[in-house]
Symmetry: C2
Subunit: 354 residues, 2 copies
């Protein structure tokens, strides 16, 4: 039986507080479902490390964590102390690019016990995935500034879409759609306004769709698509978008289900050439750090995604089920969800139910 080696990076702020609960639940699920996991702990990709060493990660970070089966990540960043372009670009974005984690995956799911800002929706009504391209597109670094500090000043930045980059994210999204009961894929575009890259995206979607005759697909321009997330969240099954559109939709989706504070995410290299990173969507939340009140569900749910990615479906669904049951009990929820459990009590509750 294979032993999974997981690199554990708690990072900053509440990342350090929710991580132990994530590990507790994974251990419980692993034990129950006969999965063998081994955790290796790392202190880099954090402000503390940066303060000591003047850099976010050691020079040989790739050697240290590049052979692991996955990376379990808390949260990084502390805007008051360190700018995002150092903390995030020096860790998370580096992982995405250098470990070629070209899929960013997030569930949008209405959970019991989580108040949704949308009227008249109940658990079960909303249950879809956002698949985001995670390496190119609008987040290129190609561009610059001309005529600085004059009236003629201008800046440009290119959106870059490669056939390789677009096709592989679409393939992942179509595969995911095909594996689900509804077999429905929605593509986010803006080809009526962004006249070169977005028509190309549409073209590749059409070409890919031909290979998946069993998948129904449609497309919406991003403006009306965001509107439809609010008006008709039940329309969606798998939604795929470029780096920017996926970024927007994977915040808006969880917001619509009230779960932005507990949503998980995966930054995935599907081929397994490099480890994938699993992390809660929430940040390090310096304002509530150190009080033991952080909600550990995003961390725990990310653990379920990690086990699913490793092929341990049983253990993964056990965790998701335990999360749902825990959220359903007011006394087991943390304060942000109107409960009175602290971080540890909530984590223990999930661990007991897996």
């Amino acid at each position: 039986k294979k032993q999974y080696r997981i690199a554990v990076i708690p990072g900053d702020g509440i990342g350090k507080e929710v991580m132990p609960e994530g590990l507790r639940v994974i251990e419980a699920a692993a034990k129950k479902h006969g999965v063998d996991v081994k955790f290796d702990h790392f202190d880099f990709a954090s402000y503390d490390y940066y303060e000591k060493h003047g850099e976010m990660m050691p020079a040989d970070w790739k050697n240290q964590i590049g052979k692991h089966d996955a990376i379990y990540f808390g949260a990084v960043g502390w805007p008051a102390k360190i700018p995002d372009h150092i903390s995030l670009w020096g860790s998370l974005i580096k992982f995405r690019r250098e470990f070629d984690q070209y899929v960013n995956l997030r569930p949008v799911r209405l959970m019991p016990g989580v108040p949704s800002p949308l009227a008249n929706r109940k658990p079960g009504d909303i249950d879809f995935w956002v698949v985001r391209e995670n390496t190119e597109g609008e987040y290129s670094s190609v561009g610059g500034r001309m005529f600085p500090d004059t009236d003629r000043e201008f800046v440009t930045q290119q959106t870059v879409m490669t056939r390789t980059g677009v096709d592989r994210i679409l393939k992942f999204a179509f595969d995911l759609a095909q594996s689900r009961p509804k077999k429905h894929l929605t593509s986010a575009t803006k080809s009526n306004g962004i006249s070169i890259t977005m028509p190309y995206w549409d073209e590749r979607v059409e070409a890919m769709a031909k290979k998946y005759p069993g998948v129904k697909w449609d497309k919406y321009h991003i403006d009306i698509l965001t509107a439809n997330f609010v008006l008709h969240p039940d329309w969606f099954d798998v939604v795929v978008g470029s780096n920017l559109f996926g970024d927007i939709l994977s915040d808006l989706g969880p917001a619509c289900t009230g779960t932005i504070g507990i949503a998980p995410s995966g930054n995935i290299n599907p081929e397994g050439d490099f480890p994938s990173v699993f992390e809660p969507v929430h940040g390090s939340a310096p304002d509530i750090a150190g009080q033991g009140i952080a909600n550990p569900i995003g961390m725990i749910w990310s653990g379920a995604m990690m086990l699913e990615h490793l092929g341990e479906k049983q253990a993964a669904s056990a965790i998701v089920g335990a999360i749902e049951r825990t959220l359903g009990e007011r006394t087991l929820r943390t304060r942000d969800l109107g409960g009175n459990a602290d971080t540890t009590a909530c984590g223990k509750a999930v661990a007991e139910m897996v």
Copy 2:
């Protein structure tokens, strides 16, 4: 007393049905509040015109409508018969660019009688403006494709932001914020991911803010900003964004208030060098055209925005007030809002109340 000359372009589909109601209401408000308007009617910028002449507009369209005080526009497009890049780019987008309508302005307002998809919000809770840059940014036409039809194929498209373009939209937005009781401006950015153009946008916002010490301002990355539209729509007063971000927010905002079918918009050249265009947000809706059931409120509300732009504030607010009273009565609303009035009955109701 000045006579305003308005170019009237009904366009396609339900544009032709809602336009008479818009004119009816403007005439009523003008009469009541002593405003002198004259309408000149044009049949171009429509599919019918295109079918007859092989182009969306006559060669001398700028001469025909370029001297008017404003353009009152219905809706254009008929995707089953004519692709958007001909119909929209051949009319609306042309107006925006050639008449330098660099401001796209849309209200986000919770109205009586309009069901909102958000839970627990009531009229008065949500009332803000989205100010969108309307001529440059992500909608540039600079870019291209390389290595076509090979595995190395890629496309690029530049986002272009000029100091002139950014500063003038920010000035408009700050002026608007300063004129409102809350004096609060929110800027949409994504400088943590889009590393050249968006930090430039932030930089210009900071510079402009210095000139408006009375305006409180903040900024959000577009991903969390869309989330906050759903979670905290009461936070906003004036929201300013680039062409793409403004496009997204000005669909999402009306969706959150349930008003996407009745929202108005202005494509504005604030200096008055060229006429501005006022049009409902909804399209030509071929599926319901010809049945007399279209909701004319978007058209009528756009008329109020036009009068406001012309400096006729009294007539403008009289129309907005009449819209609110009309929407408050079930029998005066059209079917899409659960009423039983047809297009004309709804328009007449507003006209009577101005």
